[in-house]
């Protein structure tokens, strides 16, 4: 009975809507990221950027700029290389979002992601980590079954397949695991239990968008925001599978990310994570209701 349930959970044929929605989100996010970072590539990844190559190698282990520098590649040549590859990533991300030659572009995107992550390990943050993981997972499954130029060119719908469900489940499990990690990490500190975490996050200069000093007069609100963040993140892996609460739980997580995008200078990260959650968790729920109707 358990085996049958697991087989149904992972391998019941589906139409790939979730994976396709995720493809659009991830492709668009990488495209926008490329546009925003393009003028600053030398600073972030260059051999003589904010952190010089030999220093980056010493602090974070071997990097691609360091390896190329040891092979005699000059800073100027490396700059040309990274600008060229970044342009490739920009165009690839756009094509991937549109669902054109999707399988090929998925692997090209994975290659460029690997190149840039390993050119500036310290020049990346959680946003890049999520995208890297998602691009890798998507490379093994068809993500062009809906909302794609590949579908338009084919002229007829793709059939439902078990591997589309497997891909969907693996992406869902990956994301839920990251939220468990986020929730547990927060719960292990004191700031998230005494309300200071939200206070510090909103007042930290590097992320501060608005003057939030008034929040200090509302400790109850700070406690509420901190505790709900820890609970919703940490128990997302359980909440999503409870029919009565799953829809609201997903909306709460999306709301949290939209809050980050609006209140903190992490706009692209916040908007992308809200969209990723919508694609991975909301779309299947809405699709289920649509099919049931």
């Amino acid at each position: 009975m358990i085996a049958a349930a697991l087989k149904r959970f992972f391998l019941a044929p589906s139409d790939g809507t979730m994976l396709a929605a995720l493809r659009v989100v991830v492709g668009t996010a990488i495209f926008v990221e490329c546009l925003v970072l393009f003028p600053h590539l030398d600073g972030l990844y260059g051999q003589y950027g904010y952190l010089q190559t030999h220093l980056m190698d010493a602090l974070a282990g071997a990097t691609i700029p360091g390896a190329l520098a040891r092979m005699g590649v000059s800073a100027e040549s490396f700059s040309t290389l990274i600008h060229g590859l970044f342009f490739v990533q920009l165009v690839t991300a756009l094509g991937f979002a549109l669902g054109f030659q999707t399988k090929l572009l998925n692997w090209v995107l994975l290659f460029t992601q690997i190149f840039f992550i390993n050119s500036g390990w310290i020049s990346s943050y959680g946003f890049g980590r999520y995208l890297h993981n998602l691009v890798f997972l998507m490379a093994f499954f068809p993500v062009n079954r809906r909302f794609s130029l590949d579908l338009l060119r084919r002229g007829r719908p793709f059939p439902a397949e078990p591997r589309l469900t497997l891909g969907k489940r693996l992406v869902q499990i990956f994301l839920l695991m990251t939220y468990v990690d986020a929730g547990l990490s927060k719960a292990s500190g004191t700031d998230w239990w005494n309300g200071n975490a939200i206070w510090r996050a909103l007042m930290a200069g590097e992320f501060q968008r608005f003057d939030m000093q008034w929040l200090a007069a509302y400790p109850g609100l700070l406690l509420f925001l901190c505790w709900t963040t820890v609970i919703f993140e940490g128990f997302y892996i359980i909440g999503y599978w409870i029919p009565r609460v799953r829809f609201l739980w997903v909306l709460a997580i999306i709301g949290m990310h939209l809050g980050i995008a609006i209140m903190m200078k992490l706009t692209l990260f916040g908007l992308t994570m809200a969209a990723v959650n919508a694609a991975v968790f909301l779309v299947p729920l809405l699709r289920k209701r649509e099919v049931a109707a």
């Binding site: 600073g43 952190l51 010089q52 890798f136 990490s185 975490a197 206070w199």
Partner: protein, 169 residues
């Protein structure tokens, strides 16, 4: 035959990948590396993304480290700026990571000096007419919300300062 091998192989690959994911999430920051295994995991992380943690703004949010530059130009003018002034929101999220390295390496003089020199060199590159660049690192101490509400004020404490000059020899 091929199909019979495919299912267990795919299953094993999936289990392996998610095991590395879980390892990266559960591993404490200060854990001792395991010879060969940690290096193999690092390379797997660099290729796939799996193996890194996702505990952002946790377990606590430390005091903010700020890096400021005072740039003296050949014509005598002085400019004040931060690394964040040179970029946009997305680059600044990444620059924040780099600056936190200074805070983590606070007790290692050579590392702090190298980081400072690297940042200063970038400032010189962005300001070719600069004669000297003074880097100052401060920690911004924000009181907790209850103390702030009771009247405590935020303050900055300098933890490092260095001046870099153009060598005209």
């Amino acid at each position: 035959m091929k199909r019979r091998l495919l299912v267990p192989l795919v299953t094993a690959a999936i289990v392996f990948h998610f095991a590395v994911l879980a390892w990266g999430m559960l591993e404490p920051d200060n854990s001792k590396p395991i010879p060969y295994l940690s290096q193999a995991k690092l390379w797997y992380t660099r290729l796939t993304g799996a193996g890194a943690g996702f505990g952002f703004f946790s377990p606590n949010i430390g005091n903010e480290v700020r890096v400021r530059f005072e740039i003296k130009r050949k014509d005598g003018t002085i400019e004040h700026l931060t690394l964040q002034d040179l970029g946009n929101e997305e680059t600044n999220a990444r620059v924040g990571n780099m600056i936190r390295l200074i805070a983590k390496s606070f007790d290692k003089d050579k590392v702090v000096r190298s980081l400072a020199a690297s940042f200063a060199a970038y400032i010189f590159h962005s300001r070719p007419d600069a004669e000297s660049v003074k880097l100052t690192t401060v920690v911004y101490h924000l009181p907790d919300h209850r103390s702030f509400n009771a009247g405590a004020e935020a303050f900055e404490k300098q933890i490092y300062s260095a001046t870099f000059e153009v060598d005209h020899r």
